[in-house]
Amino acid sequence: MIDPFLIGVLSNIGMMSLLALSAYLLLLVGEVSFGQQAFFGVGAYAGGIATALWGCSLGVALLFAALMGAAAQLLVALPTLRLRGFYFSVATLAFAEAVRILFGLFHYRRDVDGRMMGPDGENGFRDVRYIYDHNMGGQDYMLIVWALVVAVLLIFMLLEFSRYGPRLRMIGEDDIMAGLNGIHVTRYKLATSVAAGALAGLSGGLYIHAVTYVEPGVFGMMLGVHTLAYGLIGGLGTALGPLIGVLIDIGFLESFHGLSQYRMVIFGGIVVLLLIFRPRGLLDEVLVNRLNRLFWRGR
């Protein structure tokens, strides 16, 4: 039996990695989104409603959460895709704030087994006890989370080896040039947005079942800055980059008692220093390429 605190930290790292990967995916195509936390929130509410109110199984709930996240992001992507640079960032920020306030007004109460359940405005959505009712331990849940993280990472690896990965990076580098080279930029950006929304929704769906409740304050701007920063710290060269960012933040800063109080103060400093000295993160494209060449040299 592993220490429960460690299990909690590990599943937290897994869930935040999924969210960070969704922001990373958008960074690949050159869009800096300040609003991924909104789709995390949508996913959390959708997943919670599916298990607690509709009595679905966990798998269905997670699928529903991912779908709702994807749908919400598609809704935002359609009008904002033609925006560039900081316009896109501020638009996503505004949208995320609007979503947070809207969830504060969202009431959907139902009688489940003699108790009133469901989202209750500012009080949030409490008592989503699926994993406790089904006798899943924290350890089992952590394994589910990490299985999903590994699966997503594998998809990212396949993407990098296929022709689609380089195309996404090309759009991120210069979308006009990418368009001139015959890449359908809008289509790729829409697909990327949908995938990013699904990842954020999945992360939210996992989160609400792990901690049994969510309230609008959880997905405020503070979560947004972390989500975006994980990829920027870890590096944009590989999908492992966001994981490194999450490890530094949750594994190191949040889990040590003396440090957790100053977490955001240190974290903000790290982000800024990295933006100055390594604008594309620790594992940036140049380093990843160099490592790849070193690794494959003998074959």
């Binding site: 904002t80 925006l83 316009y87 638009a91 505004a94 109080q261 103060v265 100055i276």
Partner: protein, 300 residues
Amino acid sequence: MFVDIVQNTIEGLAHGAAYGLIALGFTLMFGVMGRLNLAYGSIIMIGLYAGIFVQSRWHVHWMVVAGTVMACSVIAGIYVERLCFAPMRDGAAMASLVASFAIWMQLEEAAMLVLPRHSYPFPAPTDQVVIELGPFLLRGDHLVTLGTAALIMIILERLVQNSRFGLGLRAIAESPRAAGFVGQHVRRSLFLVFIIASMVGGVAGWLIASTNHQVSAMFGMWATYKGLVAAMLGGLGSMRGALAGGLLLGLVEAYSLWAFGPQIRDLSASLILFLLIVMRPGGLFGQKQAMLGAAARTRL
């Protein structure tokens, strides 16, 4: 009904003047640098928290508090400029944006560590002055805010349009490299712009805090958000637009508060910002489209 509408208009304009003041600082920085400083609200918040700290420790005169607010806003502004704007290479506007977003959260957390309560009382210079005009109520401090906003707008516009320094700033806004070639000290000018904007922010923060008689932990976020919406409503980079945008936002908020309640009021600012960017990114009075286009094309 009619009385309500007029009274709400008065309230809206009064709050709008405060938004306009913050928007002036935003628009000044954006107009010259072509970069957005999301940490602006937290710069003001640091100044206000310093003022509260001094006030609660030594119970000083309100002038000293006002001075502290201004001075500490400027210090916080210098910190942000040195970290988020000075070291970023040319064209890396997105790096500055993300860095200022991170510093925003950092400053907010740091302020909460020093003064952890949710809200603190803030001293006003005089007792409440209320002017009665028939059935309508006008608050003296609101009038002062409105007057100060107009005054600062005129001073800033004079500075930018009619002085040698302003000519240099406009040259830098047009093209930093070309301005450097003809002998402008680009970095020094940007630094000065930042100090001026932080001072404007300090004045705005002090006026708002003493009108509300308190400062809450949400102030940084509130100021950044409202200032940004107001500045974008008027078109980023335009001084008159900033003030007009502030007044407009104030009116919209006052009416939606009156009609639908506080949560819808908060929602309306976010929705306005989102719809504005999607439909009219250049602002309602859209100008300087070319410059905005160049700023929008930069990437990380």
